[in-house]
Symmetry: C2
Subunit: 140 residues, 2 copies
DNA sequence: GCTTGCGCCGCAACTGAGTTGCAACAATGA
DNA sequence: TCATTGTTGCAACTCAGTTGCGGCGCAAGC
């Protein structure tokens, strides 16, 4: 039932003081319904016929959602951003898994990431990005 | 003395059975002389006037050097590859540091990276990519 | 040293992700 | 309902990286 996600999405957006436009709700609901991180292309494809957005609008909306902490974006080696909804128990610092076969990207929540990396003197730690690569169950 | 790097570069290329062309030697020497990972743009700028290469040649040469294990390439969040020479003591699996101020990227060799990540059942580990972000000594 | 074949190089054109400027539109608050 | 202000769509752009192809040059063989 996608309706549930639309309702949740609208709530999340309003609680952040943003205008609850059809585009924002649809995009966030799409990401909430997804078990993996997906690209802007995949988001476009999953949006209903009744909600066809311009590419630029999609990019700007995703940017807004990232800035407001409702989703996060993931760097990959194919030069394409992937996006994933921020669920509550989601730690902000977590690792990702990318399948080298089908390019699927999922979040690995149960990885405790230490923050004490031995950096050169004078360097300051901010955050960490960790991607484990391998084959998913389907591609093995 | 850049000559030393040119000599080393030529040796490395010949030992891998490749043609020791001016382009390959120059690019590899440039990367050997560098303390950090640099982009294709930066490589272009550092090449001597006498060795101005076409962008395509640069990309193809870098690809060849990567395939032959003489350099490695690093994914970043600005969608630009960075390249670094593979020194002997360099472990193939190592982490990188990226300064969020000046975009400088260096290799962190002394990070022991474990290979036993708790992946979902049926998933197979291949490799890991780890980037620590923060501020370098100059940008602090 | 000279020739020759294969591999490397340069050029031109292309792809595809992401960005910018601007005018038109619509969600919200009064 | 109306006005304001933030959001959207369009067009054009940037920039990294890729592809096809003709031609040049490195290295092997003589």
């Amino acid at each position: 039932m996608l309706n549930k996600f639309y309702h949740t999405a609208e709530d999340m957006i309003r609680h952040h003081g943003g205008r609850a436009t059809a585009g924002r709700i649809g995009i966030l609901a799409t990401l909430l319904a997804e078990q993996q991180a997906i690209t802007h292309r995949e988001i476009e494809q999953r949006l209903p016929q009744s909600l066809q957005l311009d590419r630029v609008t999609l990019y700007r909306t995703l940017e807004w959602l990232v800035e407001n902490g409702l989703i996060h974006k993931i760097t990959s080696d194919d030069r394409v951003w992937r996006y994933n909804a921020n669920l509550e128990p989601h730690s902000h610092q977590h690792a990702h898994f990318k399948c080298t076969g089908c390019a699927q990207v999922i979040c690995l929540d149960n990885l405790p990431i230490e923050q004490n990396w031995p950096l050169p003197t004078g360097y300051r730690f901010q955050e960490i990005e960790l991607t484990v690569k391998g084959l998913c169950a389907n591609c093995c």
